[in-house]
C-alpha cells in the first residue's frame, strides 16, 4: 500500500475510536470542551508519530523477546517530552488535561500501532500510519467534544451559540454525558456501516 492509502486508513476505515474502539479512557475523559479534545488528539498524534518513527527505525535491532519493554521505553520518552513541552508552553491546557497526559503511555492505540504496524514496516509508511491514526483520533475527539460542549455548555470553542434560547444540559459535560454520547455515536456508526456494505 502507498503512503496516501495508509494515511487515509486511520481516518475512516480503521478509525481508532469508532471502528477499532481503542483508547476510550482519554476519549471520554477529556472531551468536555473542543479545545481539550483537540489538544489531547494532537498530543497523542505527536507521541504516535515519534514512537512509530523510532520503532520502525529500530525494528531490526530490537530482540523479539524484549520488544514490549523496549516499546514502552520509547513511547514513554515521547510522552515525557510532550508533557514537559506542554507544561512550558500551554500551561492552561496542560492543567486541564491533567493526569491524562502521562497516561498517553498506556493508550492502547499507540502500543497497538507499534506492535501491529511500525515494528514490521518501513519508516515512511509508519509515518503515514501514525499521521492517519493520529488525525483520525483527533477528529473523533473533536466530534465528541463538539457535541458535548454544544449541548453541555451551549458554546462552540468558547463562543456562545445556543445560550440565548437553550438551557445547557450540564449532564453532558459530566461523566454520564460522556458515556451516553460515545455509546450513541458508536451505535450510529455501526448503523451507517451496516447500511452500506
Amino acid at each position: 500500500m502507498g503512503f496516501s492509502a495508509e494515511f487515509q486508513k486511520g481516518i475512516f476505515k480503521d478509525n481508532p475510536t469508532f471502528r477499532l474502539v481503542l483508547g476510550i479512557c482519554p476519549t471520554l475523559a477529556v472531551t468536555t470542551s473542543i479545545k481539550n479534545g483537540i489538544g489531547m488528539g494532537l498530543a497523542t498524534t505527536f507521541v504516535l508519530l515519534g514512537s512509530n518513527i523510532f520503532i520502525s527505525l529500530l525494528r531490526n535491532f530490537i530482540p523479539d523477546k524484549i520488544r514490549i519493554p523496549a516499546f514502552i521505553v520509547i513511547i514513554s520518552t515521547f510522552v515525557t517530552l510532550i508533557d514537559l513541552l506542554m507544561a512550558a508552553y500551554v500551561t492552561e491546557l496542560h492543567e486541564a488535561l491533567g493526569i491524562f497526559i502521562p497516561l498517553i503511555v498506556v493508550n492502547c492505540i499507540i502500543m497497538g500501532r507499534a506492535e501491529a504496524y511500525a515494528s514490521r514496516s518501513p519508516v515512511l509508511l509508519s509515518i503515514a500510519d501514525a499521521l492517519g491514526m493520529g488525525i483520525g483520533f483527533t477528529l473523533s475527539l473533536s466530534l465528541i467534544s463538539f457535541i458535548r460542549e454544544l449541548l453541555g455548555s451551549g458554546t462552540v470553542l468558547g463562543y456562545n451559540v445556543l445560550t440565548s434560547f437553550y438551557e445547557p444540559a450540564v449532564i453532558m459535560i459530566l461523566p454520564p454525558g460522556a458515556f451516553l454520547t460515545m455509546g450513541l455515536l458508536l451505535g450510529l456508526f455501526n448503523y451507517i456501516s451496516r447500511r452500506k456494505p
Partner: protein, 193 residues
C-alpha cells in the same frame, strides 16, 4: 485514621475510578461479559494496584526525589509496574496454583491498564504519605471491582434483552455505563462539608 477513611470512601464511591475518572475503561468494557471473569479481573486489579502504589511510592520518594530526577516519573513508573506484574505472576504461580488459574490470564492485561499507572501518578500528585498511598491504591482497586462486577451483572441480564443490532456490544454497554455513572452521582458531595 479519620483521614484514611475519608480517602477510602472518596475513591471507592464518590470519585469512583471507572465511573467518575474514566480510568480502566478497556477492561471495564472488555472483561465484563460474565460475573466470574469480572470478579477475577477485579481481584487481580486490587492486588496489583495495592502493591504498585506501595512500590512506586517508595521508588518516587527514595530514588526519583532523592536524586532530583522527578521528571522521569512516567518512564520509571510504567517500567516498575510492568516488572512488578511479571514478578507477581511468577510469585503466584509458585505459591498458589489455584490463584494462578483464577488470575492467570488477567495479570498480563493489567500492565496496560491505565487505572494502575493512574493511581500511582495520583498518589504522587496528591502528596500522600505511605499509609494514605496504600489505602488509596486498595480503595481504587475495590472501586474498580465494584463497577466491573455491577457491569457484568447487568450485561448477563442484557443477553436476554432485545437490543437493536447496531447497539449490541460496546454501544449498549456504554449506555449502561452512563446510567451507572448517573447513579454514582448520588454520592457526590458526601464529604463536602
Amino acid at each position: 485514621m479519620e483521614n484514611l477513611f475519608v480517602i477510602f470512601i472518596t475513591v471507592f464511591l464518590v470519585n469512583n475510578f471507572v465511573l467518575a475518572k474514566f480510568l480502566g475503561l478497556c477492561p471495564f468494557l472488555g472483561v465484563s461479559r460474565n460475573l466470574k471473569s469480572a470478579s477475577c479481573m477485579g481481584l487481580a486489579v486490587v492486588f496489583v494496584m495495592t502493591i504498585a502504589s506501595f512500590v512506586t511510592w517508595c521508588v518516587n520518594e527514595y530514588v526519583l526525589v532523592a536524586y532530583d530526577v522527578a521528571y522521569l516519573k512516567t518512564i520509571v513508573f510504567i517500567l516498575v509496574i510492568a516488572t512488578l506484574v511479571q514478578f507477581v505472576e511468577l510469585f503466584i504461580s509458585k505459591v498458589s496454583p489455584t490463584l494462578q488459574r483464577v488470575l492467570g490470564i488477567y495479570l498480563p492485561l493489567i500492565t496496560t491498564n491505565c487505572a494502575v499507572l493512574g493511581v500511582c501518578i495520583l498518589n504522587v500528585q496528591e502528596g500522600f504519605n505511605l499509609p494514605e498511598t496504600i489505602v488509596h491504591g486498595f480503595a481504587a482497586g475495590l472501586g474498580f471491582t465494584l463497577a466491573i462486577c455491577m457491569m457484568a451483572g447487568i450485561r448477563e441480564r442484557l443477553e436476554f434483552a432485545k437490543v437493536p443490532v447496531a447497539m449490541q456490544g460496546f454501544p449498549i454497554s456504554l449506555i449502561v455505563g452512563s446510567l451507572m455513572a448517573l447513579s454514582f452521582f448520588g454520592f457526590q458531595g458526601f464529604f463536602a462539608n
